[in-house]
């Protein structure tokens, strides 16, 4: 297990955002966290990434406990890709600068070569290197964000709704790219999404979250087979199949 989370809790002022979450991810596996807004899925990811520090419980990465201050190696081995490609790139820095920054932070060598290679790997040519984010489309920006995450040769990628801000045709391209990269580099993914179908496509196993709790954990095959037991999961499944008059009526009771 490259990642194991036990009894994870996060509390914001007066709100239990995550409550006793536990799951474990194998090396090279792709693991999904599904839920609607406010389910706590993104908070889990942010706690894993070290972006919030008031969590309780235990997170272990590659055998090492992550409470307290994390060393720099952790921040190289685990990288994150954010939801909004318009917000995750610094508006006043060129792509070149965005890719050079992680190399500088981790004191890595052969920077020129790595930047060129990273751009190529995500399907952007040299022509993009010195552009500013506002000159790129959403899909291209997300490719840059992926390149920025991969340039320091991480082992694990934390993906926070990486395609939800993109058009479906671009989503398909980015998902294909992520999947190919994972296979090629034997990366471990933890992917958060509100879209059950996207997670099912990308991940072998997934956990469904609702109101801060993991309500069900299962593998994708059983999800597709419709063997979800938890009523919330079933509802999510039904809703993902598209609009249906009768179905919408049945949701009224939940509100």
């Amino acid at each position: 297990m490259i990642l194991s989370v036990e009894n994870l809790g996060v509390e914001f002022v007066g709100l239990r955002a995550v409550d006793s979450a536990r799951f474990a991810v194998r090396r090279g596996e792709s693991y999904g966290l599904v839920g609607e807004s406010g389910s706590g899925k993104s908070t889990v990811l942010r706690a894993l990434a070290g972006l919030i520090d008031n969590w309780t419980g235990s997170i272990r990465f590659d055998g090492r406990d992550l409470s307290g201050k994390r060393d720099r190696t952790f921040y190289r081995r685990v990288q994150m890709v954010f939801q909004d490609p318009y917000g995750s790139l610094h508006p006043r820095q060129t792509i070149d600068r965005a890719l050079a920054e992680p190399l500088a932070i981790h004191g890595m060598d052969r920077r020129e070569e790595r930047i060129e290679k990273a751009l190529e790997e995500v399907g952007l040519g040299h022509g993009f290197r010195f552009r500013y984010p506002h000159q790129l489309s959403g899909g291209q920006r997300q490719r840059v964000a992926i390149a920025r995450a991969l340039i320091v040769e991480p082992e694990m990628l934390l993906l926070d709704e990486p395609t939800s801000a993109l058009d479906v045709s671009i989503q398909a391209e980015v998902l294909n790219l992520l999947d190919a990269l994972r296979r090629r580099r034997n990366l471990t993914f933890v992917m958060v999404s509100h879209n059950l179908a996207v997670v099912a496509h990308m991940c072998a196993r997934l956990a469904v979250m609702n109101r801060g709790r993991i309500v069900e954990e299962m593998d994708t095959a059983s999800l597709r087979a419709g063997s979800a037991r938890d009523p919330y999961t079933q509802r999510l499944m039904a809703a993902s199949r598209g609009y249906d008059r009768a179905l919408a009526e049945s949701f009224r009771a939940f509100d």
Partner: protein, 280 residues
């Protein structure tokens, strides 16, 4: 045949930017009655611009040209601001994507709905309040009295969107343009909002133009679907015949979405054909 609610013929919307002009909409035609029309496309396809042109909400940098642009027989071309005001809100209304940005943060939900009502209809305060509570109930808000006095930041996204719809419906418009009305909402909440719209359209005999990027959703919800690409309509379909869509763009959009009912290693990607831009 009765007069169509909306008649658009050869609509063009052109934006003049600093050093170039962009043709956002290039020759869209649409005639509709009291039905649910879906306009689907990706970002930049011109779907939202089309909806806004019909409401006279094209930004100043944009120029609208059309052979015909009519609402209930009235020519909308060259309508003056007063003319637009008489139509907008009263006879045609718009619901936008994010209720957080569309509601005024310093007024309660109820006040805003009541104000929308008195702006268009001569009514006393008490009447406006009564009407507002009724319309909140119509969008299935369980405790309208309580929600009436809440501020926008105190309501959830789904409830905010329903309040927004209530505000748009209070003056009982004949045409509602909904621009991605459920994209910011969770799937389960999305269902509810859609069924509310569905109800209102069929019960009140309203026309609805539903602008969305989600082809499956639109097909399940609307009567007819216009698929837009690069400012043109590439295909018009009956929603029930979506499965037999012929245009490669429509087919591509349907195929590239991951689905729960089929597992595939690689998603088919869309190979854009330059000919689509010519509407072929």
């Amino acid at each position: 045949m009765e007069k169509p609610l909306v008649a658009i013929e050869d609509l063009h919307v052109t934006f003049r930017l600093r050093n170039r002009t962009v043709e956002a909409v290039r020759g869209v035609s649409l005639t509709m009655g009291k039905e649910k029309i879906g306009i689907v496309g990706e970002s930049g396809s011109g779907k939202s611009v089309t909806g806004r042109a019909l409401l006279g909400l094209t930004p100043p940098a944009g120029e609208v040209r059309a052979k015909k642009l009519e609402f209930d027989g009235q020519d909308l071309r060259g309508l003056d601001p007063a003319g637009w005001r008489a139509l907008r809100g009263r006879r045609m209304a718009m619901v936008m994507q994010d209720p957080k940005f569309s509601l005024n943060p310093v007024m309660t939900v109820g006040q805003q709905i009541a104000e929308a009502y008195v702006t268009h209809v001569r009514a006393s305060k008490a009447e406006a309040r009564e009407k507002s509570l009724a319309v909140l109930e119509a969008v299935r808000i369980r405790d309208p009295q309580r929600v009436y006095d809440l501020y926008p930041h105190e309501v959830s996204g789904g409830m905010g969107q329903r309040a927004m719809i209530a505000m748009m419906l209070v003056a009982e418009p004949e045409l509602l343009i909904a621009d991605e009305p459920t994209s910011a909402l969770d799937v389960t909440v999305q269902m509810q909002v859609l069924s509310i719209l569905d109800d209102l359209v069929s019960r009140r005999g309203m026309g609805l133009i539903f602008v969305s990027h989600d082809l499956d959703l639109v097909a399940a919800f609307c009567d007819r679907v216009l698929v837009m690409y690069g400012g043109r309509v590439v295909e018009t379909l009956k929603a029930s015949e979506l499965a037999s869509a012929r245009h490669p763009y429509t087919r591509g959009l349907l195929d590239c979405v991951p689905r729960l009912d089929r597992a595939q290693r690689e998603l088919p990607v869309l190979n854009r054909d330059a000919a689509w831009l010519e509407g072929r």
